[in-house]
Point group: C2
Chain length 266, copies 2
């Protein structure tokens, strides 16, 4: 079994192949560094047009990287040759808005009317942060992760899809705040600039100690809580409206695309 550090230096295609063969079921943190990672939402076609509009109207949480042809599990543009039924480290199946099962393969669940939506993910900018020597706590060890909360910032609705945005919080050293905003604003595919800095109450979070997803991160002396839009918004909204079926990546276990994070033209 290769280590995370070894997988970090491989090309995206090689990482996907290892995952497909069962060689990695952990999170996708720091895999194929420099390649765009994507959140995955798979829905039946009857929901696809509205969900497409929903993502397009809410690019900060749900920046659209690719939408597959109906019934085709290959994301032909961002990862030719890949198979979205096998190439993620882990999946989560939701029925009627409830998470019912985590899986490492969804071949038996795939349908001719499935459409997959690939949206941007903050893990994509990990390498950017490392190269810029930004000491973000969530990068320090394998178990570290941002804190995630349901905010009171509404998504732009589309059809049945509506609800609040989920945000991810990272404690940022006050001295680095402007630099972090400046850097992240250049990566709109990966949630871009923060939505909010400072007072959690202002965006409807009563208690930072009560995370909705992710890990608790304490705000140390000289740090500020900084909030970004988060891709979990899709799962939160789909659960809220009790969609009959949705398949997503298991949180933290994203799909690695061929797109260079450094390429703004893709």
């Amino acid at each position: 079994m290769l280590t995370r550090s070894e997988l970090g230096n491989l090309e995206a295609r090689a990482v996907r192949q290892i995952i497909r063969e069962g060689g990695w079921t952990g999170t996708s943190k720091r895999l194929a560094l420099g390649r765009e990672q994507a959140n995955i939402v798979i829905l039946r076609e009857e929901y696809a047009l509205d969900f497409f509009r929903f993502c397009h109207r809410n690019p900060k949480p749900l920046f659209l990287i690719e939408v597959t042809d109906t019934g085709d599990p290959e994301p032909k543009i961002c990862a030719p040759g890949a198979d979205l039924r096998t190439d993620l480290p882990a999946y989560r199946l939701y029925r009627d808005g409830e998470a019912v099962e985590d899986l490492t393969d969804i071949k038996h669940l795939w349908r001719d009317d499935h459409v997959a939506f690939l949206t941007g993910c903050n893990l994509s900018v990990d390498q950017v942060m490392i190269e810029n020597r930004i000491p973000l706590p969530h990068l320090i060890d394998d178990e570290a992760w941002p804190s995630q909360y349901i905010s009171n910032i509404s998504c732009q609705p589309a059809g049945i899809f509506k609800g609040p945005q989920v945000v991810s919080m990272r404690p940022i050293p006050e001295k680095l705040l402007i630099k972090v905003i400046e850097i992240t604003s250049r990566y709109p595919r990966s949630h871009g600039a923060p939505l909010h800095v400072g007072d959690p109450f202002a965006i409807g979070i009563d208690d930072l100690n009560e995370v909705d997803w992710g890990k608790l991160n304490k705000i140390g002396e000289g740090f500020l809580p900084v909030f970004w839009a988060c891709g979990i918004t899709a799962q939160a909204v789909a659960c809220e409206i009790k969609i009959p079926e949705m398949i997503t990546h298991k949180p933290g276990h994203m799909f690695v695309t061929d797109i260079a994070v450094a390429d703004p033209t893709k």
Copy 2:
């Protein structure tokens, strides 16, 4: 009747109101300068998911600004209060891939299953070019316009939508080539950087004197032909596949949105 120059200094909302009341039926060139203009394609919902994918996969010709709710003629995000049935200076109706009628109002044609796609347009960067003192021939007088050709560069297909990209050609002074590429690459909503510079044969254009749309522009001494992706790609593809019905802006008669061209976050 206000002049083009007077309409150039008005806010987008005021320009739309004047158009709605029949006060302007000319091209949208230099109207509400500094505001994003949009090409419009209106299709029945049965084609909407594939056309959505088609635009999303081909952002250089068809950068998606907004997709309306089915049956709703208001583009709520980029122009709240606007009505896409009345607020364009002129429309073109296609049936079975043939242009059959030009109109100034499509209220009588609008259906409950219509979806409107708003995509980026090169007229949006006119003010940017003017401010940067780029002496582009197509900006010089009211009648001037880029030359437009069918290239041999294929679109990424989506469902029934497939075909070659249409390109617009502007003669650019050799000395300004890099500057023009640098500037336009910062406006991905408005077709971004050129697709090609120089030899027209390389992209399948045998004779620059035979334009497919727009006006003939001669390449003077010290100028280079520079080719950008063009929004007419949508009409060309829809005609090619003989789509039963499509309503678009009349070429050159675009919709003026509230979005600031200078705002890269929209």
